[in-house]
Symmetry: C3
Subunit: 399 residues, 3 copies
Amino acid sequence: MSEPSRTATTSRRRPVQPGKLPGRQDWSTWPNYQAAAAGFRGYWYPVCYSSAITGKPTQVTMLGEKIVLIRDNGTVYGLKDRCPHRGVPLSEGNQQFPGTISCPYHGWTFDLGTGELKAAITDGPESPICGKVTQPTYPVAERLGMVWVFIGDGEEAPPIDQHLPEELAGNAAVAGSRIQRRVGNWRFACENGYDEGHAKYLHRTSLWRLFKAMPVWNKTRIERRGRWIYRVQLEQHWEADFPGLGPWSNQAWFKLKPPKKVGNIGNTGSHREVDPVIAEQNFPGFASVAMPGILRIVYPTFIHYEFYAPIDAENHLYVGIMVEFRRGLKVLPFYLKYLGFVRWLFHGQFSAQDKWMVEVTDAPPERLYRPDDSLLQWRKLAEEISEERAARLRESGVG
Amino acid sequence: MSEPSRTATTSRRRPVQPGKLPGRQDWSTWPNYQAAAAGFRGYWYPVCYSSAITGKPTQVTMLGEKIVLIRDNGTVYGLKDRCPHRGVPLSEGNQQFPGTISCPYHGWTFDLGTGELKAAITDGPESPICGKVTQPTYPVAERLGMVWVFIGDGEEAPPIDQHLPEELAGNAAVAGSRIQRRVGNWRFACENGYDEGHAKYLHRTSLWRLFKAMPVWNKTRIERRGRWIYRVQLEQHWEADFPGLGPWSNQAWFKLKPPKKVGNIGNTGSHREVDPVIAEQNFPGFASVAMPGILRIVYPTFIHYEFYAPIDAENHLYVGIMVEFRRGLKVLPFYLKYLGFVRWLFHGQFSAQDKWMVEVTDAPPERLYRPDDSLLQWRKLAEEISEERAARLRESGVG
Amino acid sequence: MSEPSRTATTSRRRPVQPGKLPGRQDWSTWPNYQAAAAGFRGYWYPVCYSSAITGKPTQVTMLGEKIVLIRDNGTVYGLKDRCPHRGVPLSEGNQQFPGTISCPYHGWTFDLGTGELKAAITDGPESPICGKVTQPTYPVAERLGMVWVFIGDGEEAPPIDQHLPEELAGNAAVAGSRIQRRVGNWRFACENGYDEGHAKYLHRTSLWRLFKAMPVWNKTRIERRGRWIYRVQLEQHWEADFPGLGPWSNQAWFKLKPPKKVGNIGNTGSHREVDPVIAEQNFPGFASVAMPGILRIVYPTFIHYEFYAPIDAENHLYVGIMVEFRRGLKVLPFYLKYLGFVRWLFHGQFSAQDKWMVEVTDAPPERLYRPDDSLLQWRKLAEEISEERAARLRESGVG
């Protein structure tokens, strides 16, 4: 043949072994976590911006449940979005009477507050079905400019502030946020968020970190405090020499020099004075996570939160919120900073790198390594808290 | 936080009860009907306009069966659209000899009338397979400008006129029609068509009813006559006052006043003289339905039919036909009226409201109400007639 | 009705018999063949052009396995395209060190030659996981301007030249080729290629055969020689008269007259002197096939090969290669001929007719006829050679 003949690089290779993959084959160590592909029940979840909900009914999906949201006289109400009559979504209907929503098909009319069937218009005022059908409703609240829905198993919903990060209750705050529907299981998103290992490598190319070097590797310890677990940095290594391969580092002439001592606010070393509200929290580590998938990344002057709200087993809502503890005129520079670049660099390109990984992650099977202690502790936390809730429900005879 | 804090509207709500939905969980009361997701066998179905079938083979799907239709010397023939040799659709082939169709792959050539394999061209004139293979054929007829196919279980097809509405046989008629492929199970389409409850509410906003008020609610009785069941109106209520909600009506200053007495031709009260052919039928109610999904809505001067032909379990063919009993030059004003507005308002926007509901209906589970007696009687009719056919097939040893 | 009433052509028809189709219901006669929907393991397969593989990792899929290919220092390497850590495709990553590939997520870095994990960058130089994980690798070779991958079950890969057609080893050759991803199972593609029956009918309308008549039907015999089976033509019939239908032929005034004697080079009769390399092979028939799906069609001056490489059970790679045994300046007229028309007529429109049939074939069930002895012999060959390989693997204790 006229092509140069290349030798097949065959003989020294390890052959392909079909079948079992290395490492952990499933998540049966954490049965509740394994079962929660479509999310954990018993929590408040953000579902959309407040401004999206008006008098026109809107469908949202959370934990696989279709919910119709409608605003009536200022308050947002949520009902199961399936008319019990023939399965038509109530979100296709509209309001015929104040305080109600009517199915578009036959005019079945439900009370927004109680879910009670108040009228079946096409069966007249004496329709015997009235009062015999009650549509399930959802507790709804508004916080941080968003609508939140409680999805449980029949238990009383706790006040939403018990489910939000504690520092958000009682402190004046200003927020910039992004809500994005993303492909991939919410657990991959949450594990990615809290993952000790990836940020330094995956995000080293992000514009958000353009002038700040990332460490090559860290040693960390996971510490639990209340419902949160924190990643505490013990060592930060800014360069490394890999045996048989050579040196590797994220530093560059145009980047700031890495800090001399180990920091626990931010990932790149802190150079600024810490905001008093943040300092007061005395966070043991800059990254923390809580059920049902809330990430908190603490920087000197602001906190970045990520809520991973499960739409279903294949999709989740990424809700990124940047908060500064300011009030009055001081909120103006915040909005300038947020809209000027944080939104585009951090909630934009940086976060899109996470989105990319969440889309292509495919586990289990998985073969974990040392930094994955962060994942293991998070799954352990989820498991423990799930068991506690199950015990509570059993005791109260609900669910 | 800087957002106004809204109280979560939690405590008075009825909690979401996952699991069982209210009402009827399945259609096992009507086992034949439940099994007929892809349609009832043993009937003639409209599949397309006559003009669509020429000497070029065309595939249609009905009851999940792929059928090749071809016109030869004026007559339309139908065969199973899968060459028995290697599964290639005959509709990809063409005619090599009059009265036959040839598979494009190896030239297997079937007689259109009998389905017999007349030649396997690539095996020569003495191919031993000829006469050993017979392709299944379908009875085909043309009526109302459309091609109709009989889909059975091996029994003799009855004359198609026995399956069409009786008044269409023997009366000169002129028709305007629309054939539309629609998403949704054919049973939802048929139930929607005959449904007592929905028209007054769903269609109250249609342009077709712009000047005619619809009742709020009716009392009706279902009456069977031969293979049809009719909805007989006992009471029509044009306004109503709903306890705790207030008054509700479809009347408006620009609409005609509703009639004083209960009418059984049309849904809005009749103002015109009834056509003699229609009067002669002596229909007990303006809406009637027959197997396998034929709806008949009688107006003073015309009849509107809907055929719901099941393509498969997820799709159906909507065939809407408006008929007047005229002949000669009198057909001209009919076409003017049909093409001028009936087609756009009635077979268009009005019918699109039904299409919308059929797409979003999701039953069972379902929780029926008084007006759904129309659905129950239709399912009962379907069940009885199916049992009669099954008995007939058993007796004759077919199927 | 105003339409002419056509008689339903019902009564003389053979009724539709639902259920069993005529002929062979499955391929259980050839259990290995039946099981090989996604391809036979233990062979070299072409996967793409050599020019497509650079230092940027690229994913290919073959036999349902995702493989990352990367060129390093001139040589192409192949690894399983799934990082064992969290399942991220290595093809999303890049090279951080020569001779390696790194996962984009956490910087796990694998040796291209051995698959050994050389570093987990984000766990530092002393990461205990190094040396404990080995990524499966694939033997890779380059031939005919393409990259070939061996997919086995852990056995040693034989030299690729043992799997290519013998005449390609040791003879100077020039090639023009086309690689196309096609819908349809690879077995339909291979059976179509070797099928005695179809070419004369399906391809009679191709531009490639515009001036050369095709026979109507042949008598052939299948002859095995080594790993190939050949179709030997015994009779060629250029016209035929079908009982009850009439005469049929592919001849036309503008086509060359068919040859007087039966030829076994080309399908239309040979008019040219046979190339000495081709003559030397002494092929008993112009069409031959070998495992795992290699078709060889011999013409007087060139050979056309088709490789049907299974991407998965639903898709395959069609690789058409036209070869002449020339060297030096004589390759120029070859390229002129190939690029001037062979590529467009033969590898283009002619081959697209096969593509069409492979897409619409749906077997089993199938009802075979005399010319399908070619299919039966091919399946028998596949079965025998599969059994021999299974025995070899059992003896050597691999797989």
